[in-house]
Point group: D2
Chain length 435, copies 4
């Protein structure tokens, strides 16, 4: 992703716009075909003096201005006549915006491939652990038994929604920006729309109803869509890092040469991928807020807002792509310790089965009464260090209503999973449509 948003790639996409503009102009009879060919032949990033360009950009605040100057000079060297038609009808911002759209297209291709890979990995993981028992935790405390499969299915289900969002965003953002200085295409007179149409076709981009340069919702939406995706990635990474804690030890990132070592503690095995993802999830929200703030642009070109986007959106792409790639890489190789998951279910001396008992008693004595009874027994278990099953077995009110066999059944986690397995199946079924 770094490459998609490198300076070179940016310039190449801008030159691609200039080449396509020349060809479109020629097709519409606005510039001579020979000029178009002469121009297109110089639209190569290798011909650009990148250093001179960077210096000039710092003064003009707009890379398109010195780029067009360099391109014009390059063309003029060989064909002074053709040089007159470089950038014909466009404004610098058309180059910047459409160049950005082309970068976004390439970036979305990469992101969607990793997203598909991640979903494949999660799908497999959910199937493998469809019935793997583990403690469900709420507010960082054991709550009820669940399965690792249902947890992974939740991750996958969210990722499937992100795939939908990417598709929808793509349709709105992958369009041409071409309006001339103030969006009227005045320099092309009555041929403006014709050239615009040809240009969009050249670049395989949609043709918008009206130039959109100061309507930044298209690019800002790219930022919010990525922001939402990174949020979910952060949630998955948080879960993994919690399960990987020394005392919990249920799920581990794959180990690897140099991965997660420490300069002083040779035994350390750190969740480095989770760290990368969580770092991205910490950074992206502030960057998205910048993109939204920058939408308030003045008139036909804003002052400073557009520049605020300039480094922010690529940063969001880089962070999201990095996080997504890490997750797609580790998910197929996560080490899951199902035995430890099961052992951890015992950490509360049976308290994790409190709800199961409450429901069983509740159907006989009412939920509120059952809740009170089990709450008391739980307190006693905690204070005395006894197992909840033992405390309950000694309680007369319970003994009258539940046999020892019934109690055994209630304290077996596999008997209190509700529809966990069906939920996993539902998500896996639904994933099929994403291929």
């Amino acid at each position: 992703m770094g490459e998609v948003f490198s300076d070179a790639a940016r310039l190449q996409h801008m030159l691609e716009f200039e080449a396509a503009l020349a060809r479109a102009g020629a097709r519409c009879g606005v510039i001579p075909p020979a000029a178009a060919q002469a121009i297109a032949s110089k639209c190569k990033v290798d011909l650009v003096d990148a250093k001179a360009l960077a210096t000039a950009t710092a003064v003009s605040l707009n890379p398109a201005i010195p780029l067009v100057k360099q391109l014009t000079a390059l063309v003029a060297n060989d064909d002074p006549e053709a040089a007159r038609f470089v950038h014909w009808g466009a404004t610098s911002q058309d180059v910047n915006d459409t160049g950005l759209v082309l970068q976004i297209r390439q970036a979305l291709d990469i992101l969607e491939a990793d997203l598909a890979a991640l979903c494949g990995g999660l799908n497999q993981l959910a199937q493998t652990h469809r019935s793997t028992l583990m403690a469900g935790r709420t507010l960082m405390q054991h709550a009820l038994p669940t399965t690792f499969g249902v947890k992974v299915a939740g991750w996958l289900d969210a990722m499937n929604r992100h795939r939908e969002r990417f598709t929808e965003t793509r349709a709105r953002v992958l369009v041409l920006q071409f309006g001339g200085a103030v969006g009227t295409l005045a320099a092309l007179r009555e041929k403006g729309l014709q050239v615009a149409e040809a240009l969009a076709a050249e670049l395989h981009l949609g043709l918008p109803f009206v130039p959109w340069h100061t309507q930044r919702d298209r690019v800002a939406e790219a930022a919010t869509t990525l922001g939402l995706c990174t949020g979910t990635l952060g949630k998955i990474a948080r879960d993994i890092s919690l399960h990987m804690q020394t005392e919990i030890a249920e799920v581990f990132e794959p180990a690897g040469e140099g991965r997660g070592g420490s300069s002083t503690m040779p035994h350390k095995r750190n969740p480095v991928s989770a760290a990368i993802v969580l770092s991205a999830a910490t950074r992206v929200p502030g960057l998205v807020s910048t993109m939204l703030s920058a939408m308030v642009q003045e008139d036909e070109r804003g002052l400073g807002d557009w520049h605020a986007e300039w480094e922010t959106l690529p940063e969001i792409f880089r962070l999201t792509a990095g996080a997504l790639h890490q997750m797609a890489t580790i998910v197929p190789h996560l080490e899951v310790d199902a035995a430890r998951m099961k052992r951890n279910l015992d950490a509360t001396q049976g308290l994790i089965f409190a709800e199961a008992v409450t429901m069983a008693l509740g159907s006989q004595i009412g939920k509120a009464a059952a809740h009170t009874l089990v709450e008391g027994a739980s307190r006693l278990a905690r204070e005395s260090g006894k197992h909840l099953r033992e405390v309950l077995a000694q309680d007369r009110a319970v003994a009258e209503r539940l046999t020892s066999t019934e109690l055994d059944r209630l304290f077996a986690p596999e008997n209190y999973l509700g529809v966990a397995e069906e939920l996993v199946d539902r998500v896996i079924d639904a994933s099929r449509k994403h291929g």
Copy 2:
């Protein structure tokens, strides 16, 4: 919108969930029909002791817990047997989340109505001013002539995209949350999905593939969709406020009793609606970033993240709704001073026509040479205080190429509008599909 997110409305929606849950439970044979009826009859916000609830919520951090307690007591008063089945199979978070979804549905209805009204107003405005000349401005400087119509068409086009986004978001966010304590519906055993389906039908909500409580992308997307919309509203408000400046005086918010007055300056007429909208556009980005940050929720229920959403999302709805309503209200009544717009075109002694001249000369001597020539003439005009047309007329290189009539034509703004009018028509045409 304040009402949709009032405490009372929130509780009413939560009680709606409890009533529907009871009916669904009865329909699936999980609780007795009589109990369902008894419960549903008490699901009225007027019966709740709001003060006691607020106190208890501050301790439990979860309004659903004391609400269910109060409801149980209310039912028990009349029918102790039915009271046993209150909240059967649900967890507090199911009530909170589905209650929130119901609020969001109501809020989206209001927003979409105002959005439609705003688009109607913009449509009319664009048509009226399809050919109204004004200065196009870039970086807060005059650039080229444009029309007010094309500016408004740009606003409208963005708003049409927001309507699309609202529709897409609606489909993902308006779904049931029902999972029990850890998302397995364990308390309902094998009947979980059946009850879930019935409950979704009762509430006219979609049934998700898997409970989604800690997958917050659905609600976070509501926030980002609103954030994008508020960004565009801010852009429109910024434009209006710039045009309303004392020295520019082209567009005015409608005047009204008490609107925009000053305690000390009786002559002031302030852009108060623009202020409200810009205030929202300043606040929403930070709030959206909070929603994205809060997506990183632990395991089956997060610690603090969910609480961070609790007041943030309603605030985003309130601000967006307020901004949207202001804009929908003023747009049909904007005062547009077309004469002043035209007069302001003269503010630069003809410099605004520099590009037109450059293009005309460029087709004869090449764009770069023309640019240099006109740049020099512009400098001379600025320094001497003469009109650019006059400076050019006295330039030999120009006189050889452009006749006086041609110069006249170049300095008439209506001759340098490109496809402005067609662009307005395109957007108006496209708006038809939104009705």
Copy 3:
């Protein structure tokens, strides 16, 4: 804190400004003493029609305007002559800003009291657990032994810095704003500064060099200072919540009636205070960014930026105050399970002592060689399930260099605490100066 920023308190502070202004005006001979008395006697929030005011504010966007109108009418009822001098020389924004400063003063008093209480609690806790052994954790993995005291000392040390910051911020923010419509005090002619001085004295506020209304760094600094403090509170809460996890169980929030219960799981004991604090730490950063964004205010009064602050700053105060109060309340009553802390040190079969062994060997064979050796032994221990001490004892290279007694000494956590206890003492000593 809710009360400091209630509508009533806000109005009361604004009226306090009006009363002081009248008195100052009289003192400087600008208005008649009798008028001052008549005005001051009506500056009581109980006399205000709050509902009418709210309605009018929604239109004027500025509560000071209708408030001054109501006050004038109230005074006029009794003394029409005096009514002429209400708000003499001020602009509505002077009332809003100085009223806000008075609220901030009251809010800082409350915050600083809770901050002192929290520091007291942390001080005590650090002393009690100066030598309580526990696992130091990095990247959520066991690293080396440490003491709970040194961890708490780190919390306390940060809190002491926040006390310094509050003091510094106080000096800059607690100043009068009084400038008239554009900051020149024109309405008071040559008496402007004299009245300003008298007014500052009346309100016990500093007199700034120049009115500062659109220079928002003073109020924005209040936001950043609170933001920094909330960040540290969030760090403490995160630590507590991690230690309170079911499998770790080292530190617990105090239990209490209704605290941390669950509607379905009677055994749950949730870290509710940590949840409140973490929620605040999730929300405040976005709100601070809004305050910083809102600093870019136009000319002598901004459009919308100031309104963006209006609800944001109080929200930051409320959240910080809530978080601080929770923390100050629970810290003196935290339940610390020192035995469990010690037991958890064993969770890694001795790997936590790897660095100690590395350092001991390193002084003989060099750090790099020792690191490699111990890394290998750690891997073997992990894979074989043996204790690291045992693996090392069987290693020839180790046996040649470390006796069994030396190994015993290396595997006793109390022997590898470095200067932990001195660090605790240093922080406690340094805390003395804060009283």
Copy 4:
């Protein structure tokens, strides 16, 4: 500033830490003096294989780990014995943090120099325009006359406060971080504090009471202090850009080769420095929120939060430094058109003097009555296109109370400036203490 935060500078500062650590260790008898010398001689960034380092960092997520490895190898080449003592007693995070502190020190030096230069420029500007009349504007509308001097004095006053804040922040952030793996300095046993003290002295940094690695308030404060400063810079840039608008044309950024040109409009003169500053003011708030969010770090080293700071803080420094430098550069060369400022005061046909008239009448008929009277006359003036002075002269109620001479006096802006000039003097006086 780019150079201070370049990869090379970062590494050099980290190596400076390693060299100082070796010297401090030798001074305290912890490592042999010869080893210290051998190590220090290799602590040069030119000796580092930057490419290998970058690759290794991507895996370990921590540049200090591969850097120490490389340094050890470099030392070992010449002196295998000395190589054993590289990084003795430190952890990778000590290197990262203290290296960062050294960068911050250098960055603050640069920022403070530019801040001093800017204040010098503003001081001069305020003096020059102490009495230059211009329209004061509120809510982007003319309000009352003011002077350009008083506006600049407001900018300067805020900048002086930022200088104070920099000084205070410096004291808290420029301290050593040195704690070993979990902050106990265990690897140095009882010598930990002695080495820490020597190390702080070597680096001319303060010695904190306790290692602070996961207490990020120190570095986050650097971010908030810069954020506040950038907010003020944004306010100044906004003002300049508003005054530079085509129709207002009061203040101009200095023109320069390549500055503010356009690729298509040869006449454009854009506020490019304002654009850079406003871009920074749009970006920094979101980045500051990231720094605050990242404060919630787990235990003795956080997971991902610290990494989130890694690029964010340098970005804040770069943006603030860029904005500050732009402003310091243009302020001494701003072109101020005092004649145009005066002419613009006439833009409202005298309405800008409405308050002056109101106050004059108010002292005779009461403020409310005067307000109503002048409000009516203002409306009439606006509607009829007449000058307010003329409308008032024709009003009987006015004619009875104000003579023609008095009216003339009221409509002269220099007579309604209040204490504007004294305010300028106060700020200039106060600036003296900053030198």
